[in-house]
């Protein structure tokens, strides 16, 4: 193939190679803003030379490979960063909503309700014969029960809404797992023929990152280019082209809220709720089953002590009508959601410590109003307000901690993305230089072809 034809060959090889190179550059420029895109690079090689005299003669250039620039270590770090980002993000959002429970800054909260309640008791103590003070007390008592009822219902509404998000998370996990399984089979099909499935790999990488944002996973790539994804404690989520599913199963012991279960296709489902270590699902489940439940428990303890302390004292006193051993709150309603008033008749408010002392005796009302500052054993020897304050403070610290974690993780994530970009990101300057470089080379190769054509013309005219 030496001679003029050889020169033609070199020229046309070069044209083809640089066209490919320009196409790769174009692809890079076009995807400069595509998230998860990995920069592609054309690898140019000398074509195999031919034997001849005085020695081997080159046959030009060939594009041997279109390589994807990727740093697998950074990719792994990004996966785990996404897991934490998903967890902290979900936790921060859910807790911010739960935080609305504590609207004490505008004096609308439970703390203010308790203050009003005890103030009303003191008004009755100050003026036990006054019916207005007694009416006010009943309405303030009703106010505090309403606030506690609302708090309880707010918390359970939040838990139900979080549960809906858990179900959505499970659906998303399943959708992503099946997409990854699909891509596995496509990538295998392409790469078995020696091609590189660069763009499909980028897509699968994006899905893996999305999946990691939902639930903590571990993944490993096999020799055929397919990834195996594990979830929970080593449960297979994706293997080759097969995806398994997570399901949400109502747990009766947890108010019918969903457990996350792994469906391995055979045998019973495995409960993996407690082994999910990070990702959005973890953030949601923690907010639903730890933080919200903790607040519920605290509110219930507060309520139960309020009911029992107030009732115990109230039963000792005498109402204006001589009634005694009356409960103030319903004795059965000892949770925040069930607390209610037992008393509806203001005459029965037991301000007096003796039957003979009515209407002016206020000893029992004084004892009741002093409950505001009493240390209650069932609340860890603090006052009602002290207990509530500690509850709000510790919740605040939780949400503050999560917010800090989230901000820290966002910065770390930005840095990881920068690291990724350093290897896999597109640099416009670089691509523009390549564009010029390949364009010039393409022009020169065309020149080679026209030159050899002219030479051929010259030879053809010799014959005439």
């Amino acid at each position: 193939m030496s001679g003029l034809n050889g020169i033609f060959g070199i020229g046309s090889n070069a044209l083809a190679a640089y066209q490919r190179a320009l196409a790769v550059t174009g692809q890079n420029i076009a995807n400069v803003n595509t998230p998860g895109y990995s920069r592609q690079e054309i690898i140019l090689n000398e074509a195999l030379p031919e034997n001849g005299r005085p020695g081997q003669i080159g046959t030009g250039v060939e594009a041997s490979e279109i390589r994807r620039s990727v740093d697998t270590f950074v990719e792994q770090q990004l996966l785990s960063s996404n897991e934490r980002l998903g967890q902290f993000g979900a936790a921060q959002k859910s807790l911010s909503k739960i935080q609305l429970l504590f609207n004490d800054s505008n004096d609308q909260g439970i703390a203010a309700g308790l203050n009003e309640f005890f103030k009303a008791w003191q008004d009755v103590a100050t003026n036990p014969a006054d019916l207005t003070a007694r009416t006010v007390l009943l309405s303030k008592a009703d106010g505090v029960t309403t606030l506690l009822n609302q708090g309880a219902s707010q918390l359970s509404t939040q838990r139900i809404s979080l549960d809906g998000q858990v179900q959505n998370g499970i659906n998303d996990v399943n959708a992503l797992a099946s997409k990854i399984a699909d891509l596995n089979s496509q990538i295998k099909l392409i790469e078995v023929s020696g091609q590189q499935a660069n763009d499909l790999r980028d897509q699968r990488g994006r899905f893996l990152n999305d999946l990691a944002g939902l639930v903590d996973i571990s993944s490993i790539e096999d020799a055929t280019g397919q990834v195996t994804v594990f979830v929970g404690i080593g449960q297979l989520l994706v293997t080759e082209q097969k995806a398994y599913e997570l399901t949400g199963v109502a747990n009766v012991a947890n108010n019918g809220l969903l457990d996350v279960r792994y469906d391995g296709g055979t045998g019973p489902n495995t409960d993996i709720t407690s082994v999910i270590g990070s990702g959005r699902l973890k953030g949601l489940i923690d907010a639903r089953d730890t933080t919200a439940v903790g607040l519920q428990t605290s509110l219930n303890t507060l309520t139960s002590e309020l009911v029992s302390q107030v009732n115990a004292q109230h039963r000792l006193g005498y109402g204006l009508d001589g009634s005694t051993t009356q409960d103030f709150f319903e004795a059965t309603g000892t949770t925040a959601s069930t607390i209610s008033l037992a008393l509806s008749d203001r005459q029965k408010i037991a301000a007096s410590s003796t039957a003979a002392g009515v209407p002016g005796n206020n000893v029992n009302a004084l004892a009741l109003s002093s409950l505001q500052t009493a240390s209650v054993a069932g609340l860890g020897n603090t006052t009602f307000q002290g207990y509530y304050s500690a509850m709000a403070g510790s919740f605040g610290a939780t949400i503050q901690g999560v917010t800090r974690d989230l901000q820290g993780q966002e910065i770390l994530h930005d840095q990881l993305l920068a690291h990724r970009a350093e290897v896999a990101g597109v640099s416009m300057d670089e691509e523009l230089i390549n564009l010029l470089k390949y364009q010039r080379a393409f022009e020169a190769a065309s020149k080679l072809i026209t030159t050899s054509d002219e030479m051929l013309q010259t030879i053809l005219t010799l014959k005439r």
Binding site: A111, D123, G357, A390, G393, S394, G396, A418, E422, M428
Partner: protein, 296 residues
């Protein structure tokens, strides 16, 4: 090291967003004038605010109770002052009646005036504030003193007292029952008056003289009660003043924990504005230096 476009834009965008978020926080603080509205803003400050607000609610309530108690105590003090004036007049009349120059008719007419004074004293013993008797012990819903047969006056109240809360585990008595003022352990004013009337109308000079001593005892007994009530009024006033000071201290503590320090918040906002401006300018500068501007 390669520098990809995503690195430049991504880092800048992250910084810009964080600065904007801080700006938003500062702006919220400035507009609401509050630094702490949610537990997460400052958990320990939030807890302290809850406790302080509870303390504030208590002190305002104690002040409210003290104002109520002061009204009762002042009314009692005022009534007893009048009682003393009336007793002084009764004593003058008794002295006049006990003179041997006073005739039986004179004693009769003195008896008429004394009976009027006795009725007034009974009325004072039934003094009410807002419809509640203040000398009947805790039996506030009946007249403590009623005239039964003849000039006999019976006490309908009880000997209980009422105290109000004026501080943590602190109470002040706001009620002194009539049974320790008019009809106390030393003497019974109304019995003396009844006996005096009998002596006057019976023209019994020695009987009249005997009641002089009893009237002095009654004056002393009521003075005692006045002293007690004065001391109570004084305690209420002193506690009121202390609570006023406490209210100021607690209000300041709440403000310190809750309110935004405007100077700091505005300075912060300015700093963040500078940061946002710098980041925005960097954006345009990066674009200026891009190779694409030089390839024409």
């Amino acid at each position: 090291m390669r520098v990809a476009d995503q690195q430049m834009y991504g880092t800048l965008l992250g910084n810009l967003q964080r600065s904007r978020l801080q700006m938003l926080t500062s702006q919220e603080q400035i507009s609401s004038q509050k630094r702490v509205t949610n537990p997460s803003d400052d958990p320990s400050a939030f807890g302290q605010i809850v406790l302080d607000k509870s303390a504030l609610s208590q002190t305002t309530q104690w002040i409210r109770s003290i104002n109520f108690g002061t009204a009762r105590v002042d009314a009692a003090d005022h009534a007893l002052g009048q009682v003393q004036n009336l007793i002084t007049r009764v004593r003058e009349l008794t002295v006049q009646a006990s003179s041997d120059t006073t005739s039986a008719e004179g004693r009769q007419s003195i008896a008429k005036e004394v009976r009027q004074l006795q009725r007034q004293l009974v009325q004072l013993g039934n003094t009410e504030v807002a419809g509640q008797a203040i000398f009947g012990g805790t039996k506030t819903d009946v007249n403590p003193y009623t005239i039964t047969a003849g000039d006999t006056v019976a006490y309908q109240g009880n000997s209980e007292t009422q105290s109000i809360a004026v501080g943590e585990n602190q109470t002040v008595q706001i009620l002194v029952p009539g049974s320790s003022i008019f009809t106390g352990s030393t003497t019974n004013l109304f019995d003396s008056l009844r006996d005096l009337l009998t002596a006057l109308e019976g023209n019994n000079r020695s009987g009249i003289q005997a009641e002089l001593g009893n009237l002095d005892l009654a004056t002393a007994q009521i003075s005692d009660a006045q002293g007690t009530i004065g001391a109570l009024a004084n305690r209420l006033q002193v506690t009121h003043d202390a609570l006023d000071t406490a209210t100021l201290t607690i209000t300041k503590s709440i403000s310190d924990n809750q309110d935004a320090d405007l100077a700091t918040a505005i300075t912060q906002l300015r700093l963040q504005e500078v940061a946002v401006q710098a980041a925005s300018q960097t954006f345009t500068k990066i674009f200026d230096t891009s190779l694409i501007n030089y390839l024409r």
